[in-house]
Assembly symmetry: D2
Homo-oligomer: 249 residues x 4
């Protein structure tokens, strides 16, 4: 908000804020001032994921039926990070909610989530979890499955598969040296996995600012992802599927 | 029951019966007569899945955290089959429920399911679906994701991945000729995919009968899988996670 | 040469010329006039291959021992192209010779080749072949294997694997829709496989021209690749390994 | 020969003997006495390789054009083993020569080999090498590429790919736990990789002995593999392709 009051072009870490109210306020302010605000959902800029999006949009697999996102961190965060992270759905799954919208061009209608503490009891101390599976129904009827883990011992594991009535497309982990020790054939950390995505993302921000174009990923993307994260938490607490409207207001 | 009354060794198509009451009656009769009854969950006898089970049981990936089963048929069944199939959960997912118990050695505690008609409206005419995702919580806390589709245009797609605190193991589709037309690198049909499994399974039945040993897969396996299938249907109808006890009686 | 005489910046299809004498003349002229001449070995600019080169150069697999290049076209060229193509080694393998130098940073010392006409007898009419395997020894002792085919019925198949004393790295075919018909999971044609490479390559030429920098791929690269292609043909004709010096003159 | 003189059924480690003369003597003796002699080329009995052979024989990829065998050991042998091993071609590649004949049903016509000492100078002390690439021409015109290394740091790497005019089939390394340390997703040792092959192989021997049937892998298989190994060594020494007839007599 401080940056908005100075009429700056703004590039901000996802998901911008953990509260829908604040996000709506930010959105109103940005629109009122006609400012550029870009949210750092960098995975949209990963060359492999971006190519997948183009292929799906071009109809290569027909109409999407099933989308699967595997997102597993390789290293546990320090304990001090947990209480300020917003929890696994707000910190990790929020990316997958955004990728779902990016890849299918559809909106999330309904969220179901399960979560466990299987890796480290420290997560339980903050009412958080380290392992989760989430399923979604999209507005077009497609179903989505998301798997999250805070620690894959073999590396930073990020894979996406889209299955439709005319075929299937998958993005596997990029090639990484198969070595005797260390991360067995899988890239070790997100900084390495998304190095190119960060570069392209920042360039997109600079280009948008220079050309006076709107942000390719704006406040609305944050709002939609945060809504889904709130619904996921409520789903774990109630053992129900949660329609997005229930958290929307 | 007719075979039991004649004291025969019995080998029966899964899931034996779609009603828990009948299954319990069968179980009582079989136990009373000390008969051999083997249920044809043939996937347990697939060499690749059986090796996976041994590797998981041997602790190669540590304690399982996430299990993922993809099971997609390659051809739609004829419409006449649908009303007598018991529906997608009883006909298809029942295998995946059994594989879950087989691979983890744990029991299913809780079932959540989503289902859609995306391929052919004929399924809707019988209150059935052609696409489904199911998530489970197991007694040890592990989470399970199952994806089902009645038609993968590229072939009969059966994959399993187990992720644990010490690593990951996956069984991919077996090698199949990458050819210009037809099923693109994926085996076309279940008869071909599980040819060896059927052979090993039948041998296991004959061996058990000859040696007077109990069935490697018996009525209890049917009961547990049918319970989960009933819970899945109820979950779709109520938008809730269903604890197995709720359907058990 | 006409472009050189006008002192233009030159971007030319590989391998520039099929004769070493002409290539040496071009090189002399370009150097005398301090011109920019870039040869279109576009595979160096493919993001996946470029990342592989960086990883190998960074020592991720240690010292390279074995390099394997699979390069298979998806469609036969028209017959009229064959007599002017220079033959399979000059038209196809020339790319793989260049990739060998690019990926290892070493020079080719010795070439052995085998070639057959297995796909279409039209190749034999011009003293050419449609299928070939080539092995190389590099100056550092590493061994290289190249497989070429004029027609892979399932798609345009381009894969590279580098094996060293500390591990292995591989670039597989990029994800392509797994579909019921058509190119089964493999990209259909080189224009699609190297679309991004062509873009990056052309940008590199423009950047070099604008900055007055030397070409990232110049006449020397053509000379080295053509030498290896000449050695490969001589190897087929003599059933011997041919040292590069033998063709160098 | 001692076993033959006692008219025993004989099961012997490959390649039986390193000298063609002795192999021919053994063959004559076995035929004269109508004995069973089975040579332990166990890879023929590996379920995945056996399925590949059946698929190729059934015409699934059409006529084979290119065969590729990667065979890399995971651990160096002790130095004492080297002088009695017969060298890399007689000890390692001999398996790949046999697999070539098994998979294609064709005979080896011509052998070219390259070899280097890149891993450990101890091999050079015995005139041996630790890294090799071999190419073959078969009687039907198909070309073969074999890669051997005495040490792959990431595990015991055994892969085969057959490419034909109607498609491609490949056998990859079997699934192995992807773990943070140790053999990264690749099985660690041949005893584990071929455990099932050894079991099936021994059963085939017992069955042949019980039924009075000839050996599924007999002296002729040793003779053909040893001929190719002798040709490979001569090829390294002369830098020429060696026709099998040149070593045969």
């Amino acid at each position: 908000m401080a940056a908005a009051h100075r009429n700056l072009a703004i590039f901000c870490e996802k998901p911008l804020d953990l509260r829908l109210g604040t996000l709506n306020d930010i959105r109103a302010e940005i629109e009122r001032r006609h400012l550029l605000l870009m949210v750092a959902f960098q995975r949209r800029f990963d060359p492999a994921f971006a190519a997948l999006q183009r292929d799906v949009a071009a109809g290569r697999i027909g109409r999407p039926h099933l989308l699967r996102i595997v997102s597993r961190d390789s290293m546990l965060p320090p304990e001090a990070f947990i209480p300020q992270s917003g929890g696994i759905f707000m910190d990790m799954t929020v990316h997958d909610f955004d990728m779902t919208r990016f890849l299918t061009g559809e909106e999330i209608e309904d969220v179901h989530a399960r979560a466990s503490v299987l890796i480290d009891p420290m997560f339980a101390r903050y009412g958080d979890w380290d392992t989760a599976v989430v399923t979604l129904r999209l507005t077009g009827g497609a179903l989505v499955v998301i798997e999250n883990s805070r620690r894959a011992v073999y590396g930073y594991d990020q894979r996406i598969e889209v299955f439709g009535d005319a075929g299937m497309l998958a993005v596997d982990n990029p090639p990484f040296a198969l070595r005797p020790e260390g991360q067995a054939g899988v890239v070790p950390f997100f900084t390495e996995r998304f190095r190119e995505a960060y570069r392209v993302e920042l360039q997109a921000f600079v280009d948008a600012a220079a050309a006076g174009r709107p942000a390719p990923v704006g406040v609305l993307e944050s709002i939609r992802a945060v809504e889904a994260a709130l619904a996921a938490r409520r789903s774990v607490e109630t053992s129900r599927s949660i329609r997005i409207e229930e958290v929307r207001g």
